[in-house]
């Protein structure tokens, strides 16, 4: 499958999220949305006395922050805000407990049981009871680690159990009935579905010339271009070779043109799966199941719900799990379909008075904000508010004697003093590009003189001026690129 160019949100392009991955991306997306709406954003080194969100035994730097409108303050850990109770977070970490509560509240879940991996006999008996195929997964695992789906018979099951015992440290596993069908991650805020992603297991599409290995490599190159999938390439491992084996392929086989070759059973994006936006293809009935799942749990107004939709009826499905601290990056950067504004919906929910408010086009350097928190040299960092109102932008292309005369340093210093935002960089033929943005048109226009003047030793021969319109997302501050 060749990735198509997808429609991103105009103020959230690849540049805005460059080099931010994983849970940091979730945190940044929600924080940025609030900040752009004029809320005060504070990053914390660690949890504060005021708010103790369950941080899942993970690091907090750059993932723990608060947003405030002056009256109300809300704390967030990654994409999860403080309206999600710690109690629910803990329930969701235990997949069996989640299923139990959902089931009690009439939400369809797969039949299953928790069994220790040491009780081989019990496992196979239970599998026989619910009828093959079955799924086996650790009770508190994540990212698809230790999950085996579509196990078709006892031999396969015993094989998997042995493998689990030697490879992982999990002690308790859920064994449940395998439901075939398309798998969706549905993000719910309040009683609305704001984004749904279909997850397709890692796959490649043949071109009749390239080998499986080459096709994987090509696909990984494509994945690298997607901000969310960038650090999640398809890796050829035991599972992949096994998967190829079942269809009689090796990594050196050459699939036919247009032939889709699946490389894994499970659809986790972290192991190479494809996220396809599917918000518009879900039926209201399925959406309702997702909403009901959250209603069944104690105070969890927003979360991601995993649902398998029955291939025979698009109105039926089973809920596999609820993710209280769900990743949201793939809703904004799918490989097919439309970007869905999940962070916008989250902020709408916490700060309804900011709905429809003019949003700043600015963004900030996440990495340098987080750096002092990572090395613990600061306790907390309160961000400046982004410039408001109409933004003006100009691009100046300067040529002349500009090499080794401190021209760019001079420009940066001047720009920072005048509170201009933008960047300067070398372009071809020894020319230097200076791009500036400000809410004051005068300062932007006057900067032409600064560019002309240059540093002490520089000689400016020529200067081209261009308007920048519409204004793209602008990074706060001024940098030499």
């Amino acid at each position: 499958m060749v990735y198509e160019k997808i429609q991103l949100l105009p103020d959230l392009n690849e540049e805005v999220v460059e080099n931010i991955y994983g849970f940091r991306l979730c945190s940044y997306l929600v924080a940025l949305e609030g900040w752009r709406r004029g809320l005060q954003l504070t990053w914390y080194k660690d949890e504060t006395d005021l708010c103790k969100l369950d941080k899942l035994n993970s690091s907090t730097q750059g993932k723990f922050f608060s947003l405030s409108n002056g009256e109300d303050i809300h704390y967030f850990f990654r994409s999860r805000g403080d309206k999600v109770s710690n109690k629910s977070v803990r329930i969701c970490q235990n997949k069996e407990k989640t299923k139990e509560i959902l089931s009690e509240n009439g939400v369809p879940v797969p039949k299953g049981r928790v069994i220790s991996v040491d009780h081989e006999e019990e496992i196979s008996n239970y599998a026989k009871g619910v009828k093959y195929p079955v799924v086996i997964k650790p009770i508190n695992g994540s990212m698809g680690k230790g999950v085996y789906t579509n196990i078709k018979n006892k031999d396969e099951l015993i094989n998997v159990v042995n493998n689990l015992r030697s490879e992982y440290n999990y002690t308790e596993y859920i064994i449940e009935k395998y439901y075939p069908g398309k798998e969706y991650r549905i993000y719910v805020v309040g009683d609305k579905v704001v984004g749904a992603t279909r997850r397709v297991p890692a796959n490649i599409v043949g071109d009749g010339v390239s080998t499986v290995n080459e096709l994987i490599e090509m696909k990984n190159m494509e994945r690298k271009k997607n901000p969310y999938l960038n650090p999640k390439p398809i890796k050829v491992d035991f599972e992949v070779s096994k998967c190829l084996e079942t269809i009689g392929y090796t990594v050196h086989s050459i699939p036919q043109k247009e032939e889709v070759v699946y490389l894994r059973e499970k659809s986790n994006l972290s192991s190479g799966g494809d996220p396809l936006d599917a918000t518009d293809e879900l039926t209201p009935a399925i959406k309702q199941i997702a909403v009901n799942s959250l209603k069944a749990l104690p105070s969890i107004p927003h979360a991601g719900v995993d649902i398998i939709v029955d291939p025979k009826s698009d109105k039926k499905g089973v809920v596999l799990e609820v993710n209280a601290t769900a990743e949201i990056g793939f809703h904004l950067f799918p490989i097919k379909g439309e970007a869905r504004d999940v962070p916008g919906a989250i902020i709408d929910y916490y700060f309804p008075e900011t709905i429809g408010k003019n949003k700043s086009i600015f963004y900030f350097n996440y990495e340098s904000t987080i750096d002092p928190l990572k090395s613990w040299v600061t306790e907390q960092v309160v961000m400046s508010c982004p410039p408001e109102g109409l933004i003006y932008g100009k691009r100046y292309i300067v040529s002349g004697k500009l090499k080794n005369v401190g021209y760019m340093t001079f420009i940066r210093r001047q720009a920072l003093q005048k509170k201009l935002n933008g960047f300067t960089q070398k372009v071809c033929d020894g020319k230097i590009e200076v791009v500036v943005f400000s809410e004051s048109e005068k300062i932007v226009l006057d900067f032409e003189n600064t560019c002309l003047k240059g540093s002490k030793k520089s000689i400016v021969n020529n200067l081209e001026v261009e308007d920048i319109n519409p204004i793209p997302p602008v990074k706060l501050g001024f940098e030499i690129r």
């Binding site: 600061t378 003093q417 071809c428």
Partner: protein, 560 residues
């Protein structure tokens, strides 16, 4: 490289990060003193400029805001008085504080009128701009009308300070006294830029040596003696050139102005002050309502034990008190924090003095406008132990250091990792339990892909920067330390060209870093080409092409 004189404050030794050198030392040292006493410290970004960062200190619910050295107990009215020299003079006279007779002249006033005034006042006189700083445009000891006329034209019309003050010139020494809470807590004498001969080196070399020493003084960083027209004239009048060699102990003055920023020296004279002089300074601060802390500029006539007040500053820098060129450093930060937080006055800071905080990140994020407020973690309390671990082995330094940082963070240890030639040095500071734990971890099984050959554990006695940073920049281990020792020794004995030994050290590293730079440059060029192509090929660029074309056309038409 930091060089410390014996008379400098031990609690500032190795505790001022290089990013806070220069005037920033004033602010940093006060914030540091408060922070070490356990106050909550927060920096506030009012302006993107380094020297104007504000900060707040909070203790048990009491918050005090500071701007450089001035706390919020000084009312706005007092600040306004200090800025207006005319008003200052008026209040001083009202309180019977001696100050030179004189007057301020607005820019509308004719030169002749001012000349008449000077004649009436009687020579010698001083002309100074009413809003100048750092001694710019100040002409002292003007002896007659002709000289006065030239000086007046120069200051008003050439230097473009139309509003001037003309006052009586007093002969004496130029003192700066620091007053807080009716007490003089420090005073220094300003003397013009000078060098002292050693019988061997030329004036030019002596200036070079002195400038290197000045650059290595936290407070004088980048405030060197500049070789300019004035300096040449000054030497000429003494029958010297830059190539002359003064005899041993001979002091050659290079400038006429006393200002430290013009290359002048500061000499601590706190002990020598008479009660009368102190009283004048305190009286001056009391003359301005609410001015509980200030720096007082005074011309002191030691023979008669009297002085006149030139100026009162509500927000003086204290760098020269902290790092005087000669004499004992004075702990002004202590007196300021004592005044603002008397409840913390008698705290023992023996352990806290071994911590300081980072300034680089604060300045960077403030300057780029990203952050509005930054809170510094609290100073460590309880019994603290500091150790250095010299690790030798085959390590993947990047991942190993990250692992160390995470481990230390989990143990609530402050410190740093430093790359060395054969491994890394780890400085860790924390509770006894945490230190023994990290020692155990470092000496135990190392993580995958690393082979630690030896771990040497020693006590660490220098101050530790709060947080845990990874320093990738190479430091060639113990050699550096011994070098510093010899340098300091030489410094105490006399003068020694500091940079020379450093340069030879550097040159080794340079060849390496040069090739890296070259590689990077190549990479960069490719990158820019790519970037440029990207821009050229981008749809927005192509779409706006006609716009740009017409823009240029219109400009051409306009120009024609």
């Amino acid at each position: 490289m930091q060089i410390y004189k014996d008379e400098w404050l031990p609690n500032l030794k190795d505790s001022v990060p290089v990013e806070a050198f220069g005037y920033t030392v004033s602010m940093y040292s006060i914030a540091l003193e408060g922070w070490r006493r356990g106050l909550n410290l927060k920096f506030i970004n009012k302006n993107r400029r380094k020297s104007e960062i504000e900060y707040s200190l909070e203790f048990n619910g009491k918050e005090r805001k500071f701007s450089v050295t001035r706390g919020d107990l000084v009312p706005k009215e007092a600040i306004k008085v200090c800025i207006n020299k005319d008003l200052t003079k008026k209040l001083l006279i009202e309180s019977n504080v001696p100050t030179p007779e004189g007057e301020v002249f607005e820019k509308e006033v004719e030169d002749n009128e001012i000349i008449e005034f000077a004649k009436k006042l009687g020579f010698p006189v001083v002309i100074k701009p009413s809003n100048g700083t750092g001694g710019a445009g100040v002409i002292a000891n003007i002896k007659d009308e002709i000289e006065f006329r030239d000086s007046l034209i120069y200051v008003r019309h050439e230097l473009n300070f139309p509003k001037v003050i003309v006052e009586k010139f007093y002969n004496g020494e130029d003192y700066r006294l620091y007053v807080i809470g009716n007490e003089v807590t420090g005073a220094f004498k300003k003397i013009p830029a000078n060098v002292i001969g050693d019988g061997e080196n030329t004036i030019k070399t002596l200036i070079k040596i002195k400038n290197e020493q000045r650059n290595n003084t936290p407070a004088l960083h980048k405030r060197t003696i500049k070789i300019d027209k004035e300096l040449h004239n000054m030497l000429k009048s003494q029958n010297y050139t830059l190539e002359s060699t003064p005899t041993i102990g001979e002091q050659v003055f290079l400038k006429s102005k006393n200002n430290v920023s013009a290359g002048g020296d500061s000499v601590d004279i706190t002990e020598e002050l008479t009660d009368e002089i102190k009283k004048i300074a305190i009286k001056a601060s009391n003359a301005i309502p609410g001015l509980v802390q200030c720096g007082v500029d005074m011309i002191v006539d030691n023979a008669n034990n009297s002085g006149v007040i030139l100026e009162v500053n509500s927000r003086p820098h204290i760098t020269a008190h902290l790092f005087p060129w000669h004499g004992q450093a004075r702990d002004i930060p202590k007196s300021i924090i004592d005044y603002y937080f008397p409840e913390t006055k008698d705290m023992s800071l023996e352990q806290q003095n071994l911590f300081y905080f980072d300034f680089k990140h604060i300045f960077d994020t403030f300057q780029s406008g990203i952050a509005k407020e930054i809170t510094i973690p609290k100073v460590p309390s309880g019994v603290i132990l500091s150790k250095i671990f010299h690790l030798i082995g085959d390590l993947n330094k990047v991942s190993y250091c990250k692992w160390i940082r995470k481990t230390c963070r989990d143990l609530h240890l402050n410190g740093s990792v430093q790359y060395t030639q054969h491994g890394v040095d780890i400085v860790a500071s924390g509770s006894f339990e945490s230190i023994s734990k990290i020692s155990e971890i470092l000496k135990g099984d190392s993580p995958q892909n690393t082979l630690v050959k030896s771990v040497e554990e020693c006590d660490w006695t220098k101050p530790v920067k709060i947080g845990f940073e990874i320093n990738e920049e190479y430091k060639s281990g113990e050699n550096v330390d011994s070098n510093t020792e010899t340098k300091i020794k030489y410094l105490r004995d006399g003068y020694f060209p500091l940079k020379i030994s450093e340069k030879t050290n550097k040159s080794k590293g340079n060849s390496k870093s040069k090739t890296i730079k070259k590689e990077r440059k190549n990479l960069n060029e490719d990158y820019y080409k790519k970037k440029y192509n990207m821009v050229i090929k981008s749809t927005s660029w192509r779409i706006t092409k006609p716009l740009r074309f017409f823009g240029r056309l219109i400009k051409k038409i306009k120009n024609n």
